[in-house]
Symmetry: C2
């Protein structure tokens, strides 16, 4: 007991000294889950030089490939308050970097939730980031590559088509937008290619992660919401809550009844009604919640402008007021009994 | 002063309680550095459905692309002993995951060096992991995809060609090998595609990282060594030491004189002389050190079998005795005055 008090005193010292509060972890690490082995045959052997000046070596493309695995990185706090781990699943064309430091260098949601006492798992979906991707011999389609224009116009930073300009001074902004626009080009460094043909593999990776580390709470963003609801439908007993930040989209509601015991929160930013794509997505998202409620489940929505939080883009975890939104989500999780206050 | 003592008492409590020592960070986070903008034009606009059941949207491939940036993640310890940050650069076909938890779930070098008081930066080279990659319209060549056979036979786990078998029980092993072979398939989940045409971009990313966070100490592995020596030649005043784990290779020595004030350690595992490729690489590596010494510089080699540490593969940061090798490297860094003991 004495030592516990000593630790509290040390924490107080840190606060008194005015330093940013340190992060105390009981452990951290990473792993890959899931995936499958694919055998290729009949391809020609190549001679390649792997490093300039190095020797020639054979590259035989025939053989066994490990593909469709998923990477996850975990941070376990020394004094947990969350009752379960919190899994952060990013959106399309992005990686787990979404939840880390914001593009303009502020604290991101990973560390905000760690500081609130949550054990956090940040993953890269199959095909993205440290999960790697399979060859065109295995995945038959080519990936998409996003221009800088695409997220500016689609993530409700600028007012749709024509709002992006190469010159930052000439970019049109939705009025009052909270995205740190001076760091927009830095944000686009987070974008990675994506495929349109890999959904089954991506979902299998997420289910493998759930099987390894859950029971848990899911936090999903955008396309991650589609996979989050599918993974929860497959493993409803392992998902203790879902925080779906602007699901794009929640997908078909035919299996939503499986989530009747899973509290769900959907969070929406500003300008939804000005963007036909977001009007369509949010309609699907709310219909999914209606189906959960019809089955006896519990589903809440935070429509940020309606509670006085204005100007949020699709990338609200990076917006200037990201801490304010993290607080709203945290309060909801406490209300649901999933974390000590 | 009282509170500092309190913290020491709290740490002692943790040790007495027998728990794994927690990790105390003053900060952590991530960022992308470097890269360039590429403009594409004249490509057809496509109609795509980004999410099953979602609306159709336009994908216009024309426009500005952010490419060739590099991702880095940092962990800053609360009580640093290292005089500079330690940058960990992975090898070819891999990502920063190399230095994290080993494939069989033991602690990796990132956390071992953090616990020794080093601020650590782990990056993904341009084109790998969370750094993303550019489209075939920008990078003209296709990436390489590695089979499971390739690292088994090339990383000195098995005795070269013919030693890999799909059946783990039938895989031939170099006698006494320290690689955790039961986790070999898990290790292959860390492999990501690589290009043979992107060296200039990869190096530019590393130099951008050096410019952002150094002075520093570089720890490089395999292909990362090639880039480490080139980055140090470009910024010799910013690199305070290089620990090059099996560089593959050090590359041409014509600019090695630039490193005459940079202490260098090369570390080699076992079985080098049994593998023609490693004979060739190590010859280049040692010639580079000779050139550094000829210019008045300081260069050391730890040939692990010669100091009684046997059985190490190319992936020695994952080998069963990875802690023993980390200790040898750590001692060298202390000897060079780069860290308190």
């Amino acid at each position: 007991m004495i030592a516990r008090t000593a630790l509290a005193a040390a924490l107080l010292w840190s606060a008194v000294a005015g330093a940013a509060e340190p992060i105390h972890l009981r452990d951290m690490g990473s792993f890959h889950v899931g995936g499958r082995i694919v055998e290729l045959s009949g391809q020609p052997v190549q001679d390649i030089v792997r490093i300039p000046g190095g020797p020639t070596s054979k590259l035989d493309p025939n053989g066994r490939y490990q593909v469709e695995q998923m990477y996850a990185q975990y941070f376990l706090v020394q004094n947990p308050k969350g009752k379960y781990p919190l899994l952060m699943w990013h959106g399309g064309g992005l990686t787990g970097a979404t939840y880390e430091t914001t593009p303009d260098g502020r604290e991101g949601w990973r560390d905000m939730f760690l500081r609130k006492g949550w054990d956090v798992y940040v993953s890269d979906a199959v095909e993205r980031g440290r999960s790697g991707f399979a060859s065109p011999d295995i995945w038959k389609s080519q990936p998409l590559f996003l221009t800088q224009t695409d997220p500016w116009e689609r993530f409700r930073i600028g007012p749709g088509p024509g709002s992006f300009d190469p010159d930052p001074a000439k970019r049109k902004l939705l009025p009052g937008n909270q995205f740190p626009t001076e760091a927009f080009d830095a944000f686009t460094k987070q974008i990675v290619p994506r495929w349109l043909s890999t959904d089954d593999a991506v979902l299998a990776g997420y289910v493998a992660l759930v099987d390894k580390v859950c029971p848990c709470v899911l936090m999903t963003h955008s396309q991650g919401g589609f996979f989050g609801f599918r993974a929860a439908e497959a493993r409803p007993d392992k998902i203790k809550a879902i925080v779906a930040v602007e699901p794009a989209s929640a997908g078909p509601a035919d299996k939503a009844a499986a989530l009747k015991s899973v509290p769900i929160l959907e969070v929406f930013g500003d300008y939804i009604e000005q963007d036909p794509r977001w009007v369509a997505y949010s309609k699907i998202d709310l219909a999914y919640l209606d189906a959960v409620r019809a089955a006896g489940g519990s589903a809440d929505v935070i429509d940020l402008p309606k509670v006085g939080v204005k100007g949020n883009s699709h990338m609200m975890m990076m917006d200037r007021n990201n801490r304010e939104i993290a607080e709203l989500i945290s309060k909801w999780l406490v209300t649901k009994g999933l974390s000590d206050p």
